[in-house]
């Protein structure tokens, strides 16, 4: 190999990059505060699944009491009812999603009165119309439909209202009550919570009423949805329940965090031993990979679960694979007698196709998991997919630049340093 001069510009570049990585890692993992600008450390900003925070996860199966299939309208009304219930006990950020045709998954993180929440969620909705003396006028079974709509009132102004439509039995009951309570207030209660208290203006005998005084069409819509939910001929049965106490969640998080640090360190050391000079670069690229992945996951609001962490560690292995493929290629090229720079160029070029083909197949598995899986399996799939994409980027783009700069510095010209 011909003697190259030491290239000061490249050395400065290399030192600059290493410093930049250290600063970025510091800000990311320790946090940074300047005056009002506060960048929290990533451990606190990333969203954790409830296997790491503790919480309740329940899948409810809806069955129609009238024997028919549960419609998707009925499911969405049920979802509104459930979220109303959870809000009423004042817990933070529940996730309620429809799963399949007739199931609803409810996840509530960091909740202490778990069993209480569970019995509340699974309860059949109790909707009641009460008179001023708290006597029950009618129940959810007597209501046929309810909608939030815009209606023109007597002075020609468009106003949002909630319409009510009663069935035969309900029409009669409501007619009697409205005759009796003209000028008084009727309370509409869902699960013992008053959701609306309209005043009776006239006796309504045709089975169709409107509730005025809604602030917006949205508000009218959600009240109507609650009423529909309370009128649903649907019973809910929990088919899958998982609760994790806050202590277990926190312990899992700490233990797993340490396990990850050990695992990643082991990989970093292995790469150093296996590839020496190139190993340093692969390690830098790997650290960049982990940082980009964590930032992306935070930005995309991906929930990090235990299987997700396993996926993350697995993608560390895959990120290494791309580098291994490249370095092995460079070695082969170098053995054929090519100069270091040519070997590097050819190595990257040749390895690229292999990297794409081998990662594409893993991506296929990731997407299948995402579309056919549910709950935590999906979280794992997202981590896997993001990991593959980011690792291809760091291996192909970042490692290549790092290798080129290192060689250009001219500091290390013996092949042994590169493990060749």
């Amino acid at each position: 190999m011909d003697k190259q001069k030491v290239n000061k510009k490249s050395i400065a570049q290399l030192i600059g990059i290493i410093l930049l990585i250290i600063v970025a890692a510091y800000v990311l993992f320790v946090g940074f505060t300047v005056n009002v600008y506060d960048i929290g450390k990533i451990q606190n900003t990333i969203k954790y699944g409830l296997d790491l925070t503790g919480g309740v996860n329940v899948v409810l199966e809806a069955t129609s009491t009238d024997g028919g299939a549960v419609t998707s309208d009925e499911i969405s009304s049920t979802i509104s009812t459930i979220s109303q219930r959870i809000n009423s006990i004042g817990v933070s950020e529940p996730t309620i999603t429809k799963q399949g045709d007739n199931r609803i998954r409810v996840s509530i993180p960091s909740i202490s009165n778990q069993e209480e929440a569970l019995s509340l969620i699974g309860k059949t909705a109790q909707l009641e119309f009460l008179g001023p003396d708290d006597s029950v006028i009618l129940t959810g079974q007597d209501i046929e439909d309810s909608k939030g709509v815009m209606q023109t009132d007597s002075s020609g102004v468009q106003k949002p209202v909630v319409t009510l439509k009663f069935n035969e039995e309900g029409t009669k009951l409501f007619a009697d009550a409205t005759q009796k309570y003209i000028g008084q207030v009727i309370k509409i209660k869902l699960d013992d919570q008053v959701i609306s208290s309209p005043t009776v203006n006239v006796a309504i005998t045709n089975g169709e009423a409107v509730i005025e005084g809604q602030a917006s069409l949205d508000e009218a819509g959600s009240l109507a949805e609650l009423i529909r939910g309370g009128a649903l001929p649907v019973t809910l049965e929990p088919v899958e329940v998982q609760t994790i106490g806050p202590t277990l969640g926190q312990d899992s998080l700490n233990d797993t965090f340490h396990a990850c640090i050990i695992g990643i360190s082991a990989v970093l050391i292995f790469m150093l031993l296996a590839y020496r000079g190139f190993g340093v670069l692969a390690d830098l690229a790997l650290i960049i990979y982990i940082m980009i992945l964590l930032i992306l996951m935070t930005a995309l609001n991906v929930t990090l679960t235990l299987p997700g962490i396993a996926g993350l560690i697995l993608t560390v292995g895959m990120a290494v694979d791309a580098n291994v493929l490249i370095f092995e290629r460079i070695k082969e090229e170098s053995r054929l007698g090519k100069s270091l720079l040519t070997a590097i160029d050819n190595g990257f070029k040749r390895a690229l196709g292999t990297i794409i083909d081998s990662n594409a197949t893993t991506l296929i598995a990731g997407f299948v998991l995402f579309f056919l899986g549910s709950g935590s399996v999906q979280g794992f799939a997202v981590t896997l997919i993001l990991g593959i994409l980011v690792s291809m980027f760091t291996a192909v783009v970042i490692t290549k630049q790092l290798v080129k700069i290192l060689v250009k510095t001219g500091l290390f010209n013996n092949n042994a340093f590169y493990g060749l």
Partner: protein
């Protein structure tokens, strides 16, 4: 230049090893089956922190009121946790009553209920069906991809190597009767992705080396390609294995359930991509070639 490995010449040995592994796996599956956890057969697992070592009989007395067939075991660093496992899926009321029973006896806080897991049997059966569906879809898509990027024979042999890996991983679970729960499915699908990635690298090299060898020199082509890619296969596998093993050793039980099948999968996936996938390809290619020689020979 290093000497090439003799993969092609010794196919019988490689296939023999794989055949033994598959026979053991399938045999165990037939005889003792899999030890399915509650995710698949339904049931309840409740863990409660009692803050004190306890007599099994005391715990039993409470649990028997709800299900006399339930298992009651110890857990935790100081053995102060009680874990109740049953095949019955308890209702919310039953669980609350059970926990109250412990609460009264050991004066516990609400937060001492460490974890609860209840799955209905119906949903469990569904999970199993979905898992099989996911595996079939993933395999079909991979076959299409490899056929499109390489050739049909590569695709088929890659899938055969993959099925081999899956059977062995499931076999390990059957032989050691390790409990199978839903993380197992995600792990299996990940192995699918990982193992095929390993195999594709070998086929990629065969494709690249092809012009350098005689048209029908399948054996030499295979040996050279596997030799060139073997270091990479082993290095990557070691790195991945080391990372996942750390999770297994230092992680919590929930993540261990996930890490263990991955560890087995990485090892067997590496074996099959070095010794099986390419070797199968070689055997089929050689057979096709001989057959075509024969048919053209008879015509002449």
């Amino acid at each position: 230049m290093k000497k090439n490995l003799n993969i092609a010449k010794n196919v019988k040995i490689w296939f023999g090893i794989s055949l033994v592994l598959i026979t053991i796996s399938l045999g165990s599956l037939l005889i003792q089956g899999l030890n399915f956890g509650i995710d698949f057969i339904g049931g309840t697992i409740i863990s409660i922190e009692l803050h004190t070592p306890f007599e099994n009989a005391d715990a039993r007395a409470i649990v028997d009121k709800f299900d006399p067939s339930a298992d009651v075991t110890y857990a935790g660093d100081a053995q102060t946790e009680v874990v109740i496992t049953t095949k019955k899926s308890f209702t919310t009321e039953e669980r609350q009553a059970l926990f109250s029973g412990f609460q009264d006896k050991y004066s516990l806080q609400n937060t001492d209920l460490i974890s609860v897991d209840t799955v209905n049997a119906s949903i469990g059966a569904e999970a199993a069906t979905n898992a099989v569906k996911a595996v079939v879809v993933a395999v079909a898509l991979m076959l299409i991809y490899i056929t499109f990027r390489f050739e049909l024979i590569s695709g088929i042999t890659a899938i055969m190597a993959l099925v081999h890996d899956l059977i062995v991983v499931v076999g390990v679970y059957s032989v050691f009767q390790i409990q199978v729960n839903s993380p197992f499915i995600a792990a299996i699908l990940t192995i699918l992705g990982y193992s095929i990635m390993d195999t594709v690298v070998v086929f990629d090299r065969i494709r690249e080396n092809r012009p350098k060898f005689g048209k029908y020199a399948y054996g030499e082509l295979l040996d050279a390609s596997v030799t060139q890619t073997m270091r990479r296969s082993i290095f990557t596998s070691v790195a991945t294995f080391v990372a996942i093993t750390s999770l297994y050793i230092f992680g919590v039980p929930a993540i261990q359930n996930f890490a263990l099948p991955l560890m087995v999968g990485v090892v067997i996936g590496t074996y099959s991509s070095i010794f099986n996938a390419g070797a199968l390809w070689y055997v089929i290619k050689t057979y096709q070639h001989k057959k075509s020689l024969k048919t053209s020979g008879t015509k002449v």
